[in-house]
């Protein structure tokens, strides 16, 4: 009847097939069309199907269909989901608190405190009048068209997530730089995190956490944005001049003295470049995360798409660009100051 009947016949599995035939999977669309048109599936060599799960299922009803794979994964995930939640929920709860706190703080502090405070940070980090002027005009402009609260929400989320990325990413990077085995184990995970389409993170997270909880988008952003800071910390420490390390050894430095006195200071330019990239990536993710209730400019972008409100979408998109430029220039100015201190 089907192309791969012979496989099961030759293996002597016909009994198993017919026994399992009772609970056969639903008929596929192809088979339905073929049945309704009254034709047997053609047997020309040109139409030889790949021996996929569906083709084998045609031959033997007891053989699982390919949709059982995704279904199985789904059921498996749902089965363990509750126990994962029991562990993950309390661990990640502080993330929710931090995000809620940051959003509450930045929205309930009057603008005439928040804006000068931001300016002060920019000045301390960059010591550049030009940058300060640019930031003042950008934030002023966004506030003037009443996008202030959206922009500040986005900024608060990024600050919290980038801070946590650095907090976890730098130690992971250091551990990677010290152990080749750790590095070999971590790199595939980093590669996966970096290339997995951002939307895909959201699916399992939605199952694990309630959509109303801030930690849902917080985790999505951190997973996506933590990669560069880990990679560049590892790279930076590995690139420290070997002769300097040798000198440190020759003068009897302990591993700890070497790490804090030599390796981290010399890797700092690379680590800062990683922090810059991490901030940029969290900004990219915060827009996507608005799909799962992350507040901020992303919500407006989403509104623009959903309701075809061209102006709202464009302006909020530009607002994100402005935020990105501000954050990028500020962190780069900090990086340059570190470089200047080290290499003149």
């Amino acid at each position: 009847m089907a192309t791969y009947d012979f496989v099961f016949r030759s293996l002597g599995l016909e009994d198993w097939c017919t026994a399992g035939g009772d609970n056969a999977a639903p008929m596929s669309m192809d088979a339905l069309i073929a049945q309704s048109s009254g034709q047997e599936a053609s047997t020309s060599i040109w139409d030889l199907p790949f021996p996929s799960m569906d083709a084998l299922n045609d031959a033997c009803a007891a053989f699982p269909q390919s949709r059982n794979v995704t279904l199985g994964l789904e059921n498996g995930f749902l089965a363990v989901k509750d126990s994962i939640s029991v562990v993950l929920d309390p661990i990640t709860q502080p993330l929710s608190w931090m995000l809620e706190g940051a959003l509450y703080g930045i929205l309930n502090t009057p603008w005439w405190i928040v804006i000068p405070a931001l300016m002060l940070i920019v000045w301390m980090v960059s010591k550049s009048w030009q940058l300060l002027t640019f930031v003042a005009i950008s934030i002023g402009g966004l506030a003037f068209i009443d996008y202030y609260s959206y922009a500040m929400q986005t900024l608060a989320i990024i600050m919290v997530c980038a801070f946590l990325c650095v907090l976890f990413g730098v130690p992971i990077g250091i551990a990677m730089s010290r152990s080749d085995r750790m590095r070999a184990g971590t790199i595939p995970i980093l590669d996966m995190l970096q290339t997995l389409p951002p939307f895909v993170y959201l699916i399992p997270l939605i199952f694990l956490f309630s959509v109303t909880e801030p930690k849902l988008y917080g985790i999505a952003i951190i997973l996506y944005a933590i990669v560069p800071v880990i990679r560049l910390t590892d790279l930076g420490i590995r690139m420290v001049d070997e002769s300097v390390i040798e000198a440190a050894d020759a003068f009897g430095m302990t591993d700890r003295q070497k790490l804090y006195g030599v390796q981290i200071p010399l890797a700092l330019p690379n680590i800062m470049a990683g922090v810059n990239q991490t901030i940029m990536m969290s900004l990219a993710m915060v827009v996507i995360a608005s799909l799962v209730s992350a507040p901020g400019l992303g919500v407006l972008v989403l509104r623009g798409i959903n309701n075809l409100e061209l102006g709202v979408g464009l302006i909020s998109g530009l607002g994100i660009v402005l935020l990105a430029v501000m954050l990028d220039r500020t962190t780069k100015a900090a990086l340059n100051r570190i470089n200047a201190a080290q290499k003149g």
Binding site: S243, E246, A248, A250, F251, G252, L266, A341
Partner: protein, 357 residues
């Protein structure tokens, strides 16, 4: 300079082997049975780094280890403070085997007993010159207020006044290496290891630094192990010269002796190009006698080099000089002997080389 034999041995290197490769232990017996470096590479894919090294390093001497690149000299100096682990053998400091030390003892050794100067300076680029100079003390946990004066003292001593607040990249190569030397000196360790310390510097600055080292050595009397690929430098600095080739010691001894009696074609090649008149000293050429000869043209010092004697004789070869040491006559120098000693092959011919050649 000539009395090294009665000094105490500070560091004794005994039957030291180093083989690089996947399983050095397995090929060690082959090397001990005399397999050559080339053969070991060809048949067993292991690199013979050091082959049965035995050297006595005397207290207060400058011991120079010399060889071309690949001769194993940098590998050897790193065994002295165990930056490289030996495959077999012992390195004894005052009778204690360094190879047997645990991590804590080794750290103590590196902090208190030995300091090191590197070819490419290896200063910490993010710390000021002063902090670099005080690094050895900082590592030991001496608070900044205390090590600052010590670091400043040594920076002044190596001729770097008033640059303490600058960063290493703001200094020239010669100045950076002065910082490297100040860093090693401020640790007050009795042993100082210098790995091609002056090789990366310009010739003029190199001469300056050599003079600085000799000057400091006169005052401090440290045990210095100096690595060099430059024979002139080695002859200028060495109390004891060790010549390495392909990972083994070809000849070691007082530089004058090696110069007068090279025992290997490799060394003859090495010394054929140097200015012998400047390097050889009267004591190596003189005839030992306390009898005063007739027609003495004058007195020369035991440690004078031949160049200065030639200058005094104004080129006349018929003269005879009395050789004096601490005011007493110890020998006689005939100008004809002096001139003969200037010819490398003639000098080698009465040495061990006559059999080899």
């Amino acid at each position: 300079m000539n009395t090294s034999s009665d000094k105490k041995t500070k560091i004794a290197i005994r039957e030291l082997y180093k083989i690089f490769g996947a399983d050095p232990e397995s090929v060690l017996p082959l090397v001990k049975d005399g397999m050559s470096k080339a053969e070991l590479m060809e048949n067993h894919r292991h690199v013979l780094g050091l082959n049965n090294i035995n050297v006595d390093i005397k207290e207060g001497d400058i011991t120079v280890m010399m060889g071309l690149s690949g001769s194993g000299k940098s590998t050897l100096i790193r065994h002295i403070n165990r930056l490289i682990e030996p495959t077999a053998g012992r390195v004894e400091l005052d009778g204690t085997d360094i190879v047997e030390m645990n991590e804590k003892e080794l750290r103590h050794l590196r902090r208190e007993e030995m300091s090191m100067v590197f070819q490419h300076f290896a200063l910490l680029p993010h710390r000021t010159v002063l902090e670099n100079a005080g690094m050895a003390l900082d590592v030991r946990g001496v608070p900044r207020a205390e090590f600052e004066s010590e670091a400043n003292k040594w920076l002044d001593r190596v001729g770097l006044q008033g640059v303490g607040d600058q960063y290493p990249h703001q200094l020239s190569g010669g100045m950076q290496q002065r910082v490297g030397i100040a860093r090693a000196l401020s640790s007050n360790s009795p042993v100082m290891l210098m790995d091609e310390a002056f090789s990366a510097l310009d010739p003029l600055i190199r001469t300056d630094m050599q003079d600085l080292l000799l000057d400091l050595q006169e005052e401090l009397q440290k045990t210095v192990v100096f690595i060099s690929h430059d024979l002139d430098e080695a002859l200028k600095l060495a109390d004891h010269l060790v010549i390495l080739n392909q990972g083994h010691v070809v000849q070691q001894g007082e530089p004058q002796e090696i110069l007068m009696k090279p025992n290997d074609p490799y060394i003859v090649d090495f010394i054929s190009d140097i200015n012998r008149a400047r390097v050889l000293r009267v004591r190596s050429v003189m005839e030992e006698t306390t009898q005063r000869p007739e027609n003495v043209a004058g007195e020369v010092d035991y440690d004078d080099n031949l160049e200065s004697v030639i200058a005094r004789s104004e080129g006349q070869t018929g003269l005879t000089y009395c050789v004096m040491r601490n005011g007493e006559q110890v020998g006689v120098l005939k100008m004809t002997d002096l001139v003969k000693a200037l010819v490398p092959t003639a000098a080698a011919a009465d040495g061990l080389r006559s059999g080899a050649a």
